[in-house]
């Protein structure tokens, strides 16, 4: 009796996970097949006739290619750098300095972080950047995205800092290191895996962000890929599936490569209460 029930439960479990897996796998399958299909539709099908023509056409669209390989890299890269560096410094300070109410401070930050980059804050953000003369600049986009990602970034980094024994720093100080030497030689290398996690996470977030650059960037030559993808739509507003899929595949590659590189070089680690749930 019990074994029959066990088998049924297992079967049910497998069925549900297979259904869920298929649901998430289908778009990915489409993404890797459609670009090579001369007559791509929204269905997942083996490319026939097989062609690389779509990529050729995409590369002839200099606006879209510049958006992907220059503007998106600049904006996402800048956001990645800003978020990783500032989050590390802030998390270190918040973990090591005795500041009253620092826990409350961190939780408030995380709570309101979603508001900052959300649609609701768009008008004040636009006005702020207008007065700072940062509308239509890469720096403006980078600052807004970094500001939105920092609270969660600090929260993630704080776990890494807290898991580092204080005796590392103390031993460096007693060994004769200045505060800066201690930070450079001991703290930063120990925190590097954490910085990598935050960096990749920030890059992916900035890479996929449409709203912020769509509102803040005015001139076409500064638009990033998520905005530029609309250049593969017809004037009537329908996507040209062959080109959209080819461009999307190119658009997905840097993130995959970055992830594989960091995973190979440093390995992803999550500490404390956010094991595996950080991304």
């Amino acid at each position: 009796m019990r074994s029959a029930r066990f088998v049924l439960v297992r079967l049910g479990f497998m069925l549900v996970t297979s259904l869920l897996g298929t649901f998430f796998l289908l778009p990915v399958l489409w993404l890797v097949t459609a670009p090579f299909n001369a007559q791509a539709t929204l269905r997942v099908e083996w490319p026939s006739p097989f062609t690389l023509q779509n990529f050729g056409e995409v590369f002839r669209n200099t606006f879209a290619i510049r958006a992907l390989f220059l503007n998106s890299i600049l904006q996402a890269g800048g956001t990645m750098l800003g978020t990783a560096v500032i989050a590390t410094l802030a998390a270190y300070a918040l973990s090591r300095l005795e500041i009253k109410g620092r826990n409350l401070f961190v939780y408030l930050l995380v709570l309101f972080s979603s508001v900052v980059t959300g649609t609701a804050a768009m008008v004040p953000i636009f006005l702020l950047l207008y007065y700072l003369r940062l509308i239509d600049t890469h720096l403006g986009v980078i600052l807004v995205l970094t500001g939105g990602l920092l609270p969660t970034g600090i929260f993630l980094m704080r776990d890494f800092v807290e898991s580092m024994p204080r005796s590392y720093e103390e031993s460096a100080l007693v060994s004769g290191a200045t505060a800066w030497q201690m930070f450079r030689d001991v703290v930063l290398p120990v925190l590097r895996p954490g910085m990598m996690v935050v960096a990749v996470w920030a890059f992916v977030n900035a890479w996929g962000n449409f709203l912020i650059p769509a509102i803040l960037i005015r001139s076409p030559e500064k638009m990033p890929a998520p905005v530029a993808i609309y250049s593969f739509y017809t004037e009537g507003g329908t996507p040209v599936l062959t080109l959209v899929s080819a461009y999307s595949l190119l658009y997905a590659l840097p993130v995959v490569i970055l992830y594989l590189f960091v995973n190979w070089r440093y390995g992803f680690r999550f500490f404390g209460g956010i094991k595996g749930g950080g991304k």
Partner: protein, 370 residues
């Protein structure tokens, strides 16, 4: 071993090498270190001993400069270092967890104190090789801390402390992460090394056996205060308080509450269900007392004796070269150590005969009576 340079030898003019004056540290409302005065001599191996939370590690961290004292002063080699940063104090510290940097090889770990002092790389490596050879870890220098054993990590941490020839070594329970067998080895190793290098050493431990085995002098701390300072033999033979008596020795000193009356023939100790003559032992005066007697200063008899304490046999533990016997005297368990490997034939009723010259008396507040 020529680890000491000429510069270091000039420190020998200071008789008192480490001086703590009225040292006090508060953490909020908690008084971790309470008006501590200590003088430690050049080249001395000095142990700070006490239960966890007694302030011994805080005292060490104050000396290292990792904490700022609330009150008081610290002198190292005759110089007031109270307000100096750790790196200006010329001390080296071995941490309980060794604090070896996981991303560096043992070579870079050991060489780090020289690197931050701007010593050229060639000289660093030469010095690291020399120290590592001395500590027998020269084959492990290219490994990371996670790739060597606990005992080897400990040696690497000691090597890092040794490499820049500090004025003072600070050890914070460096053996507590080792297993029992390695710990005994490491004790001998550290003691030998300290004698050889001759650097003033302050060693924090909660293990009384470790402190007794290694130190020239021991300071025993309770609740932030130093209760007694003395050589291992002094604190063992002549504890100044009941707390110290109960902390030193394994098993600790037996303490039997009772009172002393004066009758014909001298003073008598009246304990739970018995009375023995104290003869003319010093400190005997009428009133409530604790009678202290170490487990090794008691003989076990199988027949009544006028000077013996009657009790019930509770347990016999053969430990190899010795026997540990527990006897219930009234409600109080009394430990007895017999240096024999023959199991004695004992009935349930036994009589304990204390060696009177080795009896200690403490007043109800715990102060030694003499």
């Amino acid at each position: 071993m020529k680890l000491q340079t000429e510069k270091k030898k000039s420190h020998r003019i200071y008789e008192a090498h480490v001086v703590l004056q009225d040292l006090t540290k508060h953490f909020g409302a908690v008084v971790a270190v309470d008006h501590v005065d200590l003088t430690i001599s050049e080249g001395e191996f000095f142990a700070l001993l006490g239960p966890s939370g007694c302030g011994k590690t805080t005292t060490l961290r104050l000396i290292a400069g990792l904490e700022k004292p609330t009150e008081g002063k610290i002198f190292l080699g005759g110089k007031d270092v109270t307000n100096l940063a750790p790196r200006e104090r010329d001390v080296a510290m071995v941490f309980q967890d060794y604090a070896l940097y996981p991303h560096m090889t043992l070579r870079d770990n050991i060489g780090y104190p020289l690197k931050v002092r701007g010593v050229p790389r060639k000289q660093i490596y030469a010095k690291v090789e020399e120290v590592a050879r001395h500590l027998k870890i020269e084959d492990l220098l290219n490994r990371r801390p996670s790739q060597v054993s606990g005992g080897q990590q400990q040696r690497a941490a000691v090597a890092r402390a040794l490499v820049h020839e500090p004025q003072v070594f600070l050890f914070d329970e460096p053996l507590s992460n080792l297993d029992a067998k390695l710990r005994l080895e490491a004790r001998a190793f550290l003691k030998h090394l300290q004698r050889e290098v001759g650097v003033t050493t302050i060693y924090v431990t909660h293990d009384q056996a470790e402190a007794m085995a290694m130190a020239d002098r021991i300071a025993i701390m309770f609740t932030g205060r130093i209760c007694q300072v003395g050589s291992p033999v002094e604190v063992y033979r002549h504890p100044l308080s009941k707390e110290v008596a109960a902390f030193i020795g394994n098993p600790p000193m037996n303490l039997i509450p009772g009172h002393i009356t004066r009758e014909e023939g001298g003073h008598f100790f009246i304990g739970p269900g018995f009375s023995i003559s104290l003869g003319g032992i010093p400190g005997a005066q009428e009133g409530e007392v604790f009678l202290g007697i170490r487990p090794e200063h008691i003989r076990v008899l199988s027949e009544p004796h006028p000077q013996a304490i009657p009790g019930k046999l509770y347990a016999v533990q053969p430990l190899g070269p010795e026997l540990l016997i527990t006897v219930q005297v009234g409600e109080i368990p009394v430990s007895v150590r017999l240096f024999t490997d023959d199991l004695p034939q004992l009935e349930e009723d036994v009589w304990l005969l204390p060696t009177l010259e080795r009896v200690h008396l403490f007043d109800p507040t715990g102060k030694r009576l003499e």
